[in-house]
């Protein structure tokens, strides 16, 4: 009597209960071994059966054989997985990753690089200008004459020449005497407009990132040193719409995951006319009101305007043909707002406990 059903059932139970590879091997052998495996024995019995029985039972045995083989191989994989799982039970994935180049880029330069990249994609040229300037470039050429209250807007560090220098180094060229030659740490990157245009002609699209200085006692919200990004375009028929559009484009890219709205407020900067401040909608609360925007919904973001015709003249650009816009961002404030940094001094003291967070 050939009980395929029972054999099927038994083999299945035994394979399922095999605990390891060795046991499985023995069970496999028991059924499929060439000499005396149960299935092989069945096949041998087949020849004693009548033909019609043979035709019926033959394929069933073949199927049984295949079934057992499949089961066994599936069980073998399971056993391997269990074994691996067992060995990995004490594999502590919470151990700290091994240090691989643990340095970090300063958050200000990270932000600056991103901003610069955006302007490069918009076709701007990057110029890198001096940090120690004379009053001419920092103020006079920017339409901020001496004894003008606009100079109060920026407290200035003045610089003295080295003690070893003597009068021999003073220029005898009368051209320099008409200018105020006091030297200073630049208070703004806007002087880069004048510098850059000394060897260029419009049309230009220029950005100039860099360090600027204000004569201020330091505390959590005041720093002597910070970074600005100056941006200006001079071409035919440049208009307020271009200024707003460019700033909008910049912020749409800078904060591409936010829906940025702009607010334009008239403001006074001596080197532009009209001049304006640009606020962007708060990137944290989307204008619902939060502590970062002091519940106003707006973040002050850029000083800007249409370049004053006198400044164009100082660049040697004909304001009858060309016009331009200019704006500047304070990168430090953007970084502080973005990362929730409440003490500006952390940006300039080189503390790795801070720097390594970026």
């Amino acid at each position: 009597m050939i009980d395929i059903k029972k054999l099927n059932q038994d083999s299945e139970n035994e394979i399922r209960s095999a605990k390891n590879a060795d046991e499985l091997f023995i069970i496999e052998k028991k059924y499929l071994a060439r000499g005396d495996g149960e299935v092989v024995k069945l096949l041998r019995q087949l020849k004693d059966l009548p033909d019609d029985e043979k035709r019926k039972v033959g394929p069933e045995i073949q199927e049984l054989k295949k079934h057992i083989e499949d089961l066994a191989s599936r069980r073998r994989r399971e056993i391997e997985d269990e074994k691996q799982l067992e060995s990995e039970k004490n594999f502590d994935i919470s151990l700290p990753g091994l240090p691989v180049g643990r340095g970090s880029a300063h958050p200000i330069t990270q932000f600056m690089d991103r901003a610069v990249d955006i302007f490069m994609r918009l076709g701007f040229e990057v110029v890198d200008e001096r940090e120690v300037e004379n009053e001419f470039y920092n103020f006079d050429a920017l339409n901020t004459p001496k004894d003008h209250p606009a100079r109060d807007m920026q407290d200035t560090y003045y610089v003295m020449k080295p003690e070893s220098w003597n009068l021999n180094h003073q220029s005898r060229d009368s051209r320099f005497k008409i200018q105020d030659s006091r030297i200073l740490l630049r208070t703004q990157t806007s002087g880069a407009q004048i510098r850059a245009m000394e060897n260029r002609q419009p049309p230009v699209r220029i950005i100039s990132p860099g360090r600027v200085f204000r004569h201020e006692a330091t505390d959590a919200s005041h720093e002597t040193t910070f970074n600005q990004l100056e941006c200006f375009v001079i071409d035919k028929n440049i208009k307020v719409g271009d200024l707003i559009g460019t700033i909008k484009e910049f912020f749409a890219r800078m904060y591409y995951d936010k829906d940025i709205k702009l607010r334009v407020r008239p403001h006074f900067f001596p080197f532009v006319e009209p001049g304006m401040e640009i606020d962007i909608s708060c990137i944290f609360c989307n204008q619902k009101g939060c502590s970062v925007c002091k519940h106003s919904g707006w973040l002050e973001s850029a000083g800007s305007g249409i370049i004053h015709p006198q400044v164009l003249k100082n660049m040697g650009v004909d304001s009858k043909i060309y016009s331009g816009f200019a704006f500047g961002f304070g990168i430090d404030r953007m970084v502080m707002v973005y990362y929730g940094i409440d003490d500006i001094r952390l940006l300039y003291n080189g503390d790795l406990r801070f720097l390594k967070q970026f």
Partner: protein, 849 residues
């Protein structure tokens, strides 16, 4: 500039517009409302039961020495008997009360701002029906010394909120320096008028030439007083010596003023705008300065000296050695640049800035000379800077006043003085200087529309200009011309009109565009410059930073200035450093000539928290360059003026602190990092040259022509650094001049073919004298074999105990490989033999087996 809403409402009817909307309007028109000061409803509720009372009588408390019992009238009824009947009995401990005074009275049931609840209660057996309040108890000031005494004109029984104007809303506005005209209530009312399209209320004209006897309505002075006063009439001469610095000077004499306290409403307004009330005369000048924007000053005529029976007022430059004690009680030494108001002998005021103490109005003053003038903005500012003295007056003169309305303000002041402080005006108006001619401006709708990027019609422009008080406007399709209001000193060029139109029409209505001009597209020069700028600096610097960060260095940004202790650690002498003229602290005295001193400092701080510190900075240094002392010719042609400026160089510096590693290990790591940076910029290791230069190692690289250029140095910190900063002696550092390095074009690289034949590897280990450089060993190895070899140091140590004095041990991998065939072990062994012999013979090496 503070703007109290009720004061604004004197000039314009805006009761229906919410305060927030007015604030937004001002912000969007350029006068940013930074804050709206306003007491909340619950705060005001705390004053619900606080009213004005008058002290009718004061008695000693029978049971307490320090207490008094006051009868207080709080009834507005005029009948004396009735008020006496309804008077409250209040026990009070403050010493500053007197009969007749008006004081704040907290009635039973009041819950004061300081949290105190007022109940009917007995104080030492006397029942008190309320409390007299101090400013502190009312939460109005810190002054707890006594009862808050109100002005005599306060109305009995009136709620204190009304009397003190506690429900005032005050906007705190940020006025830009170009808008001197907005530094007054009237000026801001003009802005609000244009913004909300509401016309200004008509302000009564101020008559200047009112007849001497024509008493003002409210004067309380009995006519009898006026008799015989003419005899005292002052003979005054006013002279302006410098009409450039003082284009306009007007003055008026007012006799018989009664100096005293100002009315409560005036005090309230002055306090709300941030000015401390002094006396009625001074308060009126301040009040009108705030209201009309015209600074005024009152002199006590009796304190002004005569010259030949005439009182003199001279506007002149100060004389050598002159000084003045100003109203702030400080002595100011005046130089000959300073414009002063003087009498016959001495300065009595610093023009436009502050009056002198010795000529000021005090309680005894009878006759005043009232001044309203216009002073040159730049001169006032210069003097203010020189003397380090600022005032509300100088602030306004610096920003420019309305030259056409100087006399008007003077007239209004005289009128207010007559109303409030009595007095009779002398009919004579002293008036020197010309009234400025009105200025006009020309532009066009096309220009305005083009600059804004929005089509704006002549009609709309005309409307906007009209709302801003421009007059005589003619607007055609091709041109617009208009007369500029006398107070708008900031309007000079057509672009200023663009701004006026833009800000009133609203910048928010301009469609954003991106410079759509085709002249951009055809400009190869610009594209070229852009690419040069990109490759020469930006991308190279980013690559360098990538290498450093990959090697575990963190970027710092440190200060551009440092102190003497830092400066002494550099190669530049102290007297060759550029100095900060106005440092705030000693660590800001010198401009840095090297990035390393601040890095040591940051390294020291970090070493307290980390056993290993790797930091770097990229930044500018400021070097004394005598060549930049005289302007280079090439620059001159372009108009560049670098005369006297330092030579700025962009530097890269870093330090590596690891106390557990030897100086040699740290040095080798720094060297490896620099080589890696070089490779990133397409220099090969062989392109570098390292040469001892004093205690440091000079780093040079080869350019495309094979020429060497020094780009910086590296090394181990010296004892001078360790004297100042607590960092281990094995600390290594490097500093590279990026400005120079990035200019160098690397030699063209050629790739080497890769051999298909296997390499044969051998190691050699040797001990040599410390003085034998690795470079020599490598040379010797390469020279002694005819087969091509790659050599690589894999172990190095110098241990006196193991090797003996001045010895070092090196272990080197040698890789023999031929491009043409497989090398046999035997021939390599033969080469090894030659190599060993050469090392032993030439470098006195012991080969370790």
């Amino acid at each position: 500039m503070k703007l109290p809403l009720s004061w604004l409402q004197d000039f314009i009817d805006i009761k229906k517009i919410p305060a927030e909307k007015i604030a937004d309007g001002l912000t969007l028109s350029g006068s940013e409302a930074e804050h709206i000061g306003k007491r909340a409803a619950e705060e005001l509720a705390r004053f619900d039961k606080v009213v004005v009372g008058q002290i009718l009588e004061i008695q000693k408390h029978p049971n307490a020495d320090k207490l008094q019992i006051a009868k207080i009238n709080i009834s507005s009824a005029s009948s004396v008997t009735r008020s006496a009947l309804s008077a409250l009995t209040i026990v009070c401990g403050a010493p500053n009360i007197a009969v007749g005074q008006k004081v704040p009275v907290a009635l039973i049931g009041a819950a004061l701002p300081n949290g105190m609840a007022i109940e009917r209660r007995k104080i030492r057996d006397v029942e008190s029906e309320g409390m007299l309040c101090s400013a502190k108890e009312l939460g109005l000031a810190e002054d707890a010394a006594g009862i808050y005494i109100l002005s005599q004109d306060a109305r009995i029984g009136e709620s204190l909120v009304k009397t003190l104007g506690l429900d005032e809303i005050v906007f705190d506005l940020d006025i830009t320096p170009n808008r001197g005209d907005c530094l007054s209530i009237r000026g801001l009312a003009r802005e609000v008028s244009a913004l909300f399209k509401k016309s200004l209320l008509t302000v009564p004209p101020f008559l200047l030439s009112r007849p001497l006897r024509g008493k003002t309505r409210k004067s309380t002075r009995p006519p009898a007083d006026e008799a015989g006063k003419d005899a005292e009439k002052i003979d005054l001469e006013v002279r302006v010596e410098d009409e450039k610095l003082c284009p306009k000077y007007s003055a008026h004499i007012v006799y018989d003023v009664k100096v005293g306290e100002s009315p409560q409403w005036m005090k309230n307004r002055l306090l709300s705008i941030g000015i401390r009330p002094i006396n009625n005369i001074v308060d009126i000048t301040n009040y009108l300065m705030m209201e009309l924007g015209q600074p005024l000053h009152a002199f006590d005529a009796d304190k002004i000296t005569n010259s030949k029976l005439k009182k003199m007022i001279v506007v002149r430059k100060a004389r050598k050695g002159e000084r003045i004690v100003a109203l702030d009680n400080k002595v100011y030494e005046l130089n000959q640049e300073v414009l002063v108001i003087a009498d016959a002998e001495r300065p009595i005021a610093i023009a436009g800035i502050m009056g002198g103490r010795d000529s000021s109005v005090d309680n005894e003053t009878k006759t005043i000379i009232l001044e309203a003038a216009q002073f040159d903005p730049a001169a006032v500012r210069k003097t203010s800077k020189t003397l380090n003295l600022k005032s509300d007056s100088s602030y306004r003169f610096e920003r420019g006043i309305d030259a056409l309305r100087v006399e008007q303000a003077l007239g209004r002041a005289v009128e207010l003085i007559e109303q409030i402080a009595g007095g009779r005006r002398d009919p004579k108006l002293y008036d020197i200087g010309k009234t400025p001619k009105p200025r006009s401006i020309k532009t066009s709708a096309e220009f305005i529309s083009n600059r804004l990027g929005k089509e704006i019609s002549e009609k709309e422009i005309k409307q906007i200009l009209t709302s801003l008080d421009f007059s005589a406007i003619s607007a055609s399709a091709s041109a617009i011309s208009a007369q500029i209001p006398s107070w708008r000193n900031d309007i000079q060029i057509p672009e200023d009109i663009v701004e006026e139109v833009g800000r009133i029409a609203g910048y928010g209505n301009i469609a954003p565009t991106i410079f759509g001009n085709d002249s951009m597209l055809q400009d190869n020069e610009r594209a070229k410059r852009q690419e040069i700028g990109l490759t020469k600096s930006m991308s190279s610097i980013r690559n360098i930073k990538d290498v450093l960060i990959g090697a575990g260095f963190s970027e710092c940004l440190l200060y551009s200035f440092y102190g003497e202790r830092h400066a002494k650690l550099t190669d530049v002498s102290l007297d060759n450093h550029f100095q900060v003229a106005n440092p705030i602290n000693p660590d800001q005295i010198y401009l840095r000539t090297s990035l390393t001193p601040r890095l040591y400092e940051a390294g020291e701080k970090n070493f307290n928290n980390f056993s290993e510190v790797r930091i770097f900075e990229i930044g500018r240094v400021f070097l004394p360059n005598h060549e930049s002392g005289s302007p280079p010719k090439a620059r001159l042609a372009k108009g560049g003026m670098n005369h006297g400026l330092p030579e700025e160089q962009k530097m890269l510096a870093g330090i590596l602190i690891n106390a557990e590693k030897s100086a040699m290990d740290n040095f080798r790591e720094i060297k490896g990092v620099i080589e890696q940076i070089g490779e990133r910029l397409n220099f090969a290791k062989d392109d570098f040259q390292w040469k001892a230069d004093g205690a440091k190692t000079a780093i040079s690289v080869k350019d495309e022509n094979g020429e060497l250029h020094i780009i910086g140095n590296c090394g181990i910190i010296d004892s001078r650094v360790r004297d100042i900063f607590k960092i281990p002696e094995s600390t290594a550092l490097f500093e590279i001049n990026l400005s120079a390095f990035l200019e160098i074009q690397p030699p063209l690289k050629k790739t080497k073919p890769i051999s298909e034949f296997p390499a044969v590897l051998r190691d050699i280990s040797l001990v040599v004298d410390q003085s034998v450089a690795y470079e020599k060993i490598a040379q010797s190895i390469k020279q002694s074999s005819k087969l091509p070899i790659e050599i690589k140091l894999f172990d190095y140590f110098a241990d006196e105990k193991k090797l003996g004095k001045d010895k070092k041990s090196l272990a080197i991998h040698l890789s023999f490989q031929s491009p043409a065939r497989t090398l046999t072990s035997e021939e390599v062994d033969k080469e090894m033999q030659k190599i060993s012999e050469a090392l032993e013979k030439n470098l006195n090496a012991q080969i370790r087996k």
